[in-house]
Amino acid sequence: MNHEQFNNRNVSETYYLVDIEDYPTDGWGKFKRVVKRTFRGELFVGLWVVLREMIKFDIHTVQYPQEKMPIGPRYRAVHEMKRLWESGTERCIGCGLCEKICISDCIRMDTRVDENSRKEVTEYSINLGRCIFCGYCAEVCPELAITHGGRYENASEQREHFVMFEDMLTPIDALKAGKQLEFEGFGAITPHEDERVKKTPLSY
């Protein structure tokens, strides 16, 4: 086997090795370096950059928490529970796959049969103290009901604070306003899905 491709550690042509002078090894050399750095005025270089940028008023600092950077649609922060666009009902069918796949065992749900003999999720909780935001729950969900959202601020008195179903569910007015976002990370429908599926014949 040809190992040449492994030996060339230059990742690309635009990369170059930084030219760093050798470190002094003896005491005299170290003393000379201290004196040189002290009287070189490097401090003023830094101060000058700050002053220059201040005068230019071209500031790149994000004024967090007043300002927030936009994050990618595939970012995996605190979970969201989605609603069906048409009816507004919850997408979650209580199948329990997220509970099963969760590797940190932080999801639990209670289900029962409701008055319309449908499966109803009576309680659903995610222990955020244990969640590692791996995204498996969103990936396994057959209904695209549980997804990750963009809410990454989880300051709380206790790490173990749970998120309950109601907290995660898209508010109905947000849904009506069309503000529910589909998650594009793992588990989302891939483009051209229809072309890949073999259609089942129907006698209707």
Binding site: G96, E99, K100, T111, E123, K198, T200, P201, S203
Partner: protein, 829 residues
């Protein structure tokens, strides 16, 4: 039956001649797919997926019998095509609701669809509306049903209720082109499937059966489910605890499926009970009566100290047979140490019966097991209300009738529509109470080898016989010669003329004939019908293996000793295998381990029964004890097996072992006593942790160990008392028996078993009487009286009032003097 060798896929397999190929393959680890087949039941032939090629011919492995030297290929290209087409057909119109289906992946439709590699559908038919139905304790979702008919088969061949059948589905027929284009077996299977759906045999919307739930257990998809379990939990979340059912003496293997109760309560809860339905069938109590645990118990030190004080003060310990072998041994050890009297009347009666039996038989235990009953083809049941006393004995009986072409005689005073409904080959004989002796004499007379039987008994039996002359009408065939005149064309002359011809005819003619027949007075004494000897002859045709099942009516009979000896004689001098039904869960274990006494001293301790100081697993005593699903230990079953059971739920309180340790015994756990069970009675010195609890693929029971049937010295004297003709009870009878699904206060505590407590009257009896359902009545016998509400029960017939023991508030035992029948007066309160 002889051992033969067959070859499946190049693997040499030894099996029995006539064994089904599927069973032979399964027993030897060869996989043949099968959906509709149930081990122990007759082949249904609904799914046809078990197609194999035997000696170049396609056969169904579930009903093709093994022949010596057979060559079997489990998969060929043609078979693969058939199987794939069959699975595609099963998937046609099957709802895609796997996410909420209660089968939650334990689904044979899913498994085989993947196994056969079905990735696309090629068939279709218009679906019809298939509404889901609520049948009480069972929920039927017809939309999910694949009509494999496993439920129908198990209900018919194992349980005997015959409550389910296939009914017409309606809707479109299959498109004509499929007949040509589809694989043959897949088409015919679909053609049948497309026309049927599961319905109830009684034609109503309510399932009226003995509520065992076996149909839901065997369902390969989520079509039949237990109503209590709908949408409660997914199968994969449940942890299975192997155990032994603690409700009756059958000692069925079950698994308690546990999971945390809810998000708020992390304590384990039992969600359902599962069984290995190929090898063991449960009754309703076993399946639904699982939440009888003694919950929320903590270590109450004050109560514990009082208990220890009470044990120091007491001279008697009363207990029931809902107890493990180990606890029984602890009580026995305490008895040895402190000289307690151990009182358990029901177990004492059984113990005495066994002792009297062994005096003639020479063994501590009876010879048969329920498996042998199921495999025999002539069964006699005496002295037990089988469906209530031990449902598994009824299943064994029914299994013999349906699968083994068996026949049975059921002797009992109480008429039982469930037993009568098992089929035409079972004859129930309603005898008078206290006539059990006569029945056993009749069995001796009919089946015992008279040459070997002690001369005195043979002579006594002969005294019942006499010859009588009866007139029978016989039809004989007689040949008559008639002269017939007819017009015929004379060929020569061409003129029609009259000719006389002789015609001989055979005509049936009835004649009366006098014949001498044997008249057996015992038939009349047991209350059999006039044509009983003819019926018996028909029943006995082609029968080779015989089983006798006896029950609790005999143990507490006034002449129990004589009955025990008679039973032993039947076993000794006839071909009968004997099974005795222990009256309660571990009556057999208690009878073997404990030395029991009948008298109660001054101060008694009650264990699960009322005493001056009461230890109770029901939560109503002075000190709490763990219930059967909260403790580990072993139970001795009717099949003479010591079965281990594990704790499914946690228990925070004190156990009997703690008290024993405080009193000077020393053992770390209750199960430390398992190896100490008395070897002289047939127990083995085996550690609890090493006891297995499972079935093999061949259906072999690998559970605990089998008791050794120890030989004991037996007396030469085989004399038995003659029939006591004086003994009788009055007209208005009462009988101590529980309704189906109820055994004790523990089943009564279970929320899913909702039998109403009261005194049970058959509908026929109720209509005839002056009483109405729900009315309070006072029942008075020579022993005592109770007041209870009347409940109508359609699972019993005749006019005997049935009193239950499962409700301790209703002190039914007070009316009886041991024997399960008595006469009593009933009046309105």
């Amino acid at each position: 039956m002889s051992e033969i060798t067959i070859n499946i896929d190049g693997k040499t397999i030894h099996t029995q001649e006539g064994e089904y190929l599927l069973s032979a393959a399964r027993a030897n680890g060869v996989f043949i797919p099968a959906i509709c087949y149930l081990t122990r039941c007759s082949p249904t032939l609904a799914c046809r997926i078990c197609l194999v090629e035997a000696d170049g011919k396609q056969v169904y492995a579930c009903n093709a019998k093994a022949k010596d030297g057979m060559n079997i290929t489990t998969t060929t290209d043609a078979i693969k095509q058939e199987r794939r087409a069959i699975m595609e057909v099963y998937d046609v119109n099957h709802p895609l609701q796997c996410g909420v289906c209660d089968q939650s992946g334990e689904c044979e439709l899913q498994n085989y669809t993947l196994e056969m590699g079905v990735d696309a559908q090629s068939y279709s038919v218009k679906d019809v509306a298939r509404p889901s139905k609520d049948w009480g304790h069972i929920h039927y979702d017809a939309g999910l049903c694949i009509v494999c008919e496993r439920c129908v088969t198990v209900c018919k061949d194992m349980i005997g209720d015959n409550s389910l059948k296939t009914v017409a589905r309606g809707g479109d027929a299959l498109a004509a082109e499929y007949k040509e284009s589809m694989p043959k077996d897949a088409y015919s299977m679909w053609n049948k499937l497309n026309k049927s759906i599961i319905g109830l045999t009684n034609g109503t919307d309510v399932l009226d059966c003995t509520s065992c739930g076996e149909c839901a257990a065997v369902c390969p998809v989520g079509a039949l489910t237990d109503t209590h379990f709908i949408y409660k939990s997914n199968a994969w979340e449940l942890k299975q605890i192997p155990a032994t059912c603690g409700h009756c003496s059958a000692g069925c293997q079950i698994s308690y499926d546990v999971k945390h109760e809810s998000i708020a309560n992390p304590e384990d809860k039992i969600y359902r009970v599962m069984n290995e339905w190929n090898y063991v069938s449960l009754c309703g109590a076993g399946r639904y009566g699982f939440d009888y645990q003694n919950a929320n118990v903590t270590k109450d030190e004050a109560a514990f100290n009082k208990a220890v004080e009470a044990f120091k003060k007491a001279d008697t310990i009363k207990f029931t047979s809902t107890i493990t072998n180990e606890e029984a041994l602890i009580l026995e050890k305490l008895k040895e140490k402190f000289g307690y009297k151990l009182v358990n009347n029901e177990a004492l009666a059984f113990q005495t019966f066994l002792k009297n039996y062994s005096e003639i038989s020479g063994t501590t235990l009876y010879s048969g097991t329920l498996q042998e009953v199921a495999q025999s083809n002539f069964i006699v049941s005496v002295g037990t209300a089988m469906k209530s006393d031990n449902p598994n004995a009824r299943y064994a009986l029914n299994n013999s009738l349906t699968v083994n072409k068996g026949a049975a005689l059921y002797f009992h005073p109480l008429s039982d529509p469930i037993i009568d409904g098992l089929g035409k080959s079972i004859v129930s004989i309603k005898h008078k109470p206290l006539q059990e002796e006569t029945i056993l004499y009749l069995l001796l007379d009919l089946f015992a080898d008279k040459e070997k039987l002690p001369a005195k008994i043979a002579a006594y039996l002969a005294s019942f016989h006499s010859t009588k002359t009866i007139t029978i009408e016989e039809t004989i065939k007689e040949t008559i010669v008639e002269v017939v005149k007819s017009m015929k064309m004379n060929e020569e002359t061409g003129i029609e003329e009259e000719v006389e011809e002789k015609v001989s005819k055979i005509v049936p003619k009835k004649i009366s004939k006098e014949v001498e027949v044997d008249d057996n007075r015992l038939f009349e004494l047991v209350g059999a019908s006039k044509d009983f000897s003819d019926t018996l002859e028909k029943l006995l045709a082609k029968k080779e293996t015989f089983s006798l099942v006896v029950g609790a009516d005999l143990y507490a009979h006034p002449h129990a000793k004589n009955l025990a000896r008679l039973v032993a004689l039947i076993e000794k001098y006839s071909a009968f295998q004997l099974v005795m039904i222990p009256s309660l869960t571990n009556s057999l274990g208690v009878a073997l381990i404990n030395e029991l006494s009948s008298e109660i001293g001054k101060y008694s301790i009650g264990y699960n029964t009322k005493g001056d100081f009461t230890l109770s697993a029901l939560g109503d005593g002075d000190l709490d004890m763990p219930s059967m699903n909260q403790q580990e230990g072993t139970l001795t079953s009717i099949n003479k097996r010591v079965n281990p059971t594990n704790a499914a739920l946690s228990y925070g309180g004190y156990e009997l072992n703690d008290i024993a340790n405080a009193l000077g015994l020393s053992a770390e756990n209750t199960i430390s006593y398992t190896p100490c069970l008395p070897l002289s009675k047939g127990f083995k010195s085996e550690k609890f942790d090493l006891l297995p609890n499972h079935y093999t693929n061949a259906g072999e029971e690998v559970r605990g160990y089998k008791l050794k049937n120890v030989a004991v010295s037996h007396a030469e004297n085989e004399s038995v008392e003659k029939i006591d003709t004086v003994l009788s009870l009055g007209e208005s009878l009462i009988y101590l028996v529980n309704p189906v699904r109820q055994f004790s206060e523990f089943t009564n505590k279970s929320t899913n078993l909702d039998e109403v407590s009261g005194v049970y009257m058959s509908a026929e009896y109720l209509a005839k009487s002056e009483f109405n359902e729900g009315e309070s009545v006072r029942i008075k016998s020579d022993k005592g009286e109770i007041v209870a509400k009347i409940v109508s029960d359609n699972k019993i017939g005749g006019s005997i009032l049935c009193l239950p023991t499962f409700d301790s508030k209703l002190n039914s035992e007070a009316l009886f003097g041991g024997y399960r029948f008595n006469s009593a007066s009933i009046e309105r309160v």
